[in-house]
Amino acid sequence: MAATGLFLIIFLLVHLTGNLQLLKDDGGEAFNVYAQFMTSNPLIKTTSYLLYATFLVHIIWAVILSVYNRKARPVGYAHNKASSTWSSRNMGILGTIVLIFLIIHLKNFWYEMHWGGIPTVAYEGESYKDLYAVVDKAFAEWWIVALYVVSMIGLMFHLYHGFQSAFQTLGLNHPKYNALIKGVGTAFAVIVPALFAAIPILMFLERS
């Protein structure tokens, strides 16, 4: 979980950098160029297969782990208040929220980008799929925006535990650096999902 999780965390950063292009006031040019690059560059393409695999391993492993851990306590407590953070106890639920979001998200954009009928635009003579228009249209719907915001809150809690937890699992725990890891982890967990969520909100507000 830890290794795949950390890889996914890196992916989040890359993805966020790209998505922030959406907010550029250029009618979507930067974003469309970025999107085209991401789907055509051979190196990125190879990496993307690695990413799909990572997602799958992360998810499958999570399922295996949950089943395994459930078996370790066949009879539960009637009354349970043992001290731990809410997020650490609910990684499965949080992960599921993120997964559902992911499916919708992939259907909406990733599938459309690869195989859907997307209109094209031309910049400097070159033809680009106008993914920006698709995004722009989607974020005009309030419920899609709401879904994104809720999902990002889920991601926030998922990362809040996941970030530090990954270091602990990898054995990277040292009194000297623990505070740093916790600080960076918390900041990452709050800022990254917040920025992701900001995009649909801003785009929705801009139109209305």
Partner: protein, 249 residues
């Protein structure tokens, strides 16, 4: 004080078990939690009822035998052992729920008594330094930095009560196992066998049916001896190194 107790009663391992409620009207705040049970048991005995069975021995917080899940926490609301918990930690009229440790690797024997021999088997898998009696070097032959000795001691204070397993949502024994692996990995005497020790103890832990760690930290937060989470990280390091470098194919 008046107390209402909801206690798990189970005749034996095969029995299904269930909660029973008891009313205690004359509880002194100076009583320990176990003494309150003694009083209740005396009452039950004189009525000809089977007393509530629970594990306990030293009653000074060191043998690790007492094991009650009280109001949703192992050893109750204070971070201590059940025997060191006193009734002044509760308020008059309170309802207290008492359950046994719950884990596949800790099957219930009777009432609140569970079988923790799985811990013994984990230690038998390698929780020691393989030296025979006699023929060892002088105690001061190998100096050990005070800081290392103190840290090893902190890990070695584990009393093997199983509160970590009971508290963990996954019934994982990582804190218990890591405390022993850490203690011996830090000391020069234990370093010789560190690779096989980590591999074997962890293999045994899995075999016993304990869950896997998801770093919720409940184990350490509820540990009456305050064994730190750092131990688990250290055990993970020991394990990866062992897996990468050990001679076992």
């Amino acid at each position: 004080m008046k107390i209402t107790l909801k206690v798990w009663r189970q005749k034996n391992a095969a029995d299904k078990g269930g909660f029973q409620t008891y009313q205690l009207d004359n509880v002194s705040p100076d009583m320990s939690f176990l003494e309150m049970f003694d009083v209740l048991n005396e009452e039950l005995l004189s009525k000809g009822e089977d007393p509530i069975h629970f594990d306990h021995d030293c009653r000074e917080g060191i043998c690790g035998m007492c094991s009650m899940y009280i109001n949703g926490k192992p050893h109750g609301p204070k971070q201590t052992t059940t025997c060191q918990l006193h009734m002044r930690s509760f308020h008059d009229g309170q309802t207290i729920t008492v359950e046994p440790w719950r884990a596949k690797a800790f099957p219930v024997v009777k009432d609140l008594v569970v079988d923790r021999t799985s811990f013994d088997r984990i230690i038998q898998a390698g929780g020691y330094v393989s030296v025979n009696t006699g023929g060892v070097p002088d105690a001061n032959e190998i100096p050990i930095p005070k800081k290392v000795a103190d840290e090893a001691f902190d890990s070695a204070t584990c009393i093997g009560c199983g509160a970590c397993v009971a508290a963990c949502k996954n019934a994982s024994a990582m804190l218990f196992v890591s405390a022993k692996i850490s203690q011996l990995a830090m000391l020069p005497q234990g370093k010789v066998e560190r690779k096989t020790r980590a591999e074997q103890m962890i293999a045994q832990m899995d075999e016993e049916g304990f869950g896997a760690c998801t770093n919720t930290g409940a184990c350490s937060a509820e540990c009456p001896k305050e064994i730190k989470l750092e131990n688990i990280a250290r055990m993970n390091r020991e394990f990866y190194t062992a897996k990468a470098k050990s001679e076992n194919v």
